[in-house]
Symmetry: C2
Subunit: 414 residues, 2 copies
């Protein structure tokens, strides 16, 4: 069988760790064809970003992509060497060499296609193929540029390669044992799930569960790739992300009594921006959010107040790292619409309750609000999806919020 | 006019230094079209090599090239950002993006051609173009691979780009002020030369003067590119490497009274290998040195003793870093020719006297040997070229040897 394995930055943080992972890969390669996707070593990406920011506040995104892509090129070459040392045939490929073709939006490019010819050739030659995650190249009519897929993009690389190769398994190895009902560092009673549906995982990932990159789950859902999330060194069973009906039919799932709420996600890396005195007429919000979307900025928890005297307040959240760029983009629009003021708020955090059972049963919102209120936690904004409720709360109360909700929804029970 | 500037690793060792160099480049870009070639930041290349060697003693060269090429990709992207910060239009290109096409020999690939279309397009758009030095891509019928040009290869990149663009100037900026009559750290009386011929520079570089990469000088000679070597931050005039007749005609040279000996080079990074009991028959040496050449290993100071009873001893030197590889390559040949023993000697160093005037005047060898003898320095091997005499001496006496020769040939005098 063919397997795609992805190892995250903490699993390949040092050459010693790379050597250890190489031993696991070598063992697997005895029986399977193996493609290994690697992230950059440890904090490399952050270190590169901080070098760039020491030179200019908002680095050019094309240049930033070229800079960051080196991180995975380094770890992939080192992993190949570590396999050679064990006598295993291996070759490393950059994203471009592996045929990962992306759109040309720098920084958060989406994979357009995978040209898997070389990958297949290298596998056929008996090589373990190490692919630099998180990156691709554009296929412009002009010159090929190096792009990156945004934070956590190596997961996306792995799922895309698994889909292109029609691989039998896609395994994401990380420093956690799987997907938990909440972040175990915040809620010690959090339980590891045996399976979770793509939809639920998407909501959890979108709301701050760092275990998987949303785009990777989305690709898995589109191409029907089952994704196993497991620990890179332990042999403990992980969590399988799969179709909801597969999940319900699977042996594992049958042994679980299903709670309609599956997990609590939280995210402290969030800034609320409020535009005060927006004229309450059609097209204003559209103009604003289109500009942000064009710049690749994800916006969440959008709330518009009731209009008073033809004016309203519009608030939304962005990731902290996108704040400067967001301010730059909205400044001319604010001026244009004669907004009274723009307030940025970096003391809030998001907490979310997720579960696909929620869409058919009412009452989850009230349970959530009551649980937060009982802990004296104020709610600043609320948004919901079919299978999720999200509240903005004070950042310093986020841990208490997670714990209160985990308890209220009895997630510690199997 | 169009100028190619190259900045070495010590000039771009930190983001602060990159910002400072960017200011110089920005100033130059006000009047000229500028291509900037950068090396990796500071000790990056050594750090990457040591990571690779911590995984496997002899890293696969293809993987090592992919690993090392990241160093210049990082510094080039950062330099572009530093220029943006100053409001200068700039774009960084990898070696491959800049059209640097090399042969496929990993580790020490030679540039086959420069496809300068994109470079010219970017210059025409008004960009300062930053090119990652030291690297290129192969243009196989199969897949393009990342290659590197060997130590100091960024100089070669700069000269090759200058030739391809028919640039008006090629400037190599480094942490020394030019080419000296000897290493000024060893001989404080060493003088900076105003000009030097390609031939002399080649001999100096080949014998250990680190200021320029031999291949770069060779390319300059072939394509008639005058190369200025100067300090990256000081405004002191540097040394111009040019054709001997240009040099003799130039104003600068006329003001110098020419000494037939131009400089003393030394190299401590050298191991002597002696193969004992080699059968004295045709083809043995050829077989040996062809195998080493095929592996890209430079061999120097080849000495064969007088044959006794049909057997002889053959010795030669390689760079310390090539020792392991060399031993691996010669082992089967030694066995084949039934050599009695192989002795490696890492306590020696090379010292050379170079000057194109030497070929027409005799007596330099005797002056050299006498000067070394007067200091009690024993000579282990001797080789000569038309314009150079090289001796192997004990490594711990190398500084004394350089000083004795500098004095004996009166190089302190202008």
């Amino acid at each position: 069988m063919t397997v795609v394995q992805k190892y995250g930055g903490s699993s390949v943080a040092t050459t010693e760790k790379i050597a250890r992972i190489a031993e696991r890969v070598a063992k697997r390669a005895e029986k399977d064809k193996v493609v290994v996707v690697v992230s950059a070593m440890g904090d490399t990406t952050d270190e590169l970003i901080s070098m760039a920011k020491s030179l200019t506040k908002i680095p050019d995104e094309r240049e930033l992509d070229k800079l960051l892509a080196t991180g995975e090129q380094v770890s992939s070459a080192l992993m190949a060497m570590a396999l050679h040392k064990l006598g295993v045939k291996a070759v490393s490929l950059t994203g471009g060499q592996a045929g990962v073709i992306t759109e040309s939006k720098a920084g958060k490019a989406r994979i357009r296609k995978v040209e898997s010819k070389r990958l297949k050739e290298e596998l056929a030659k008996g090589n373990v193929v190490i692919v630099a995650g998180f990156q691709g190249i554009t296929e412009n009519s002009g010159w090929a540029e190096i792009t990156t897929l945004g934070r956590g993009g190596s997961d996306t690389t792995a799922v895309a390669l698994a889909a292109a190769l029609n691989a039998d398994a896609c395994e994401i190895y990380t420093d956690v044992e799987g997907v938990y009902t909440a972040d175990p560092r915040v809620e010690p009673a959090a339980r590891k799930m045996k399976t979770i549906s793509y939809e639920e995982m998407l909501e959890l990932a979108g709301q701050g569960a760092r275990v998987m990159h949303s785009r990777a789950v989305e690709l898995g859902q589109i191409y029907g790739v089952d994704i196993l999330v497991a620990h890179s060194l332990k042999d403990a069973p992980g969590t399988l992300i799969t179709r909801e009906d597969h999940e319900m039919n699977s042996q594992n799932a049958e042994m679980e009594i299903r709670n309609p709420v599956r997990g609590i996600a939280h995210d402290t890396d969030v800034t609320r921006i409020t535009i005060v005195g927006v004229p309450d007429k059609p097209g204003v919000a559209a103009k604003l959010f289109k500009a942000l979307s064009d710049a690749g900025i994800s916006v969440d928890v959008i709330v518009q107040n009731v209009s008073v005297a033809g004016k309203t307040d519009l608030s939304f959240t962005v990731a902290d790292e996108d704040l400067e760029k967001t301010k730059k983009i909205i400044a001319p629009i604010d001026k244009d619409i004669e907004a009274a003021d723009v307030i940025t708020d970096s003391v809030l955090a998001k907490v979310s309750v997720v579960g696909s059972g929620m869409k058919t049963s009412p009452g989850y919102a009230s349970t959530m609000f009551a649980a937060l209120a009982a802990e004296g936690i104020n709610i600043y904004s609320i948004t919901t999806s079919e299978i999720r409720i999200t509240c903005l709360v004070e950042r310093d109360k986020i841990k208490a919020a997670v714990r209160a909700l985990h308890k209220a929804f009895e997630l510690e029970k199997a």
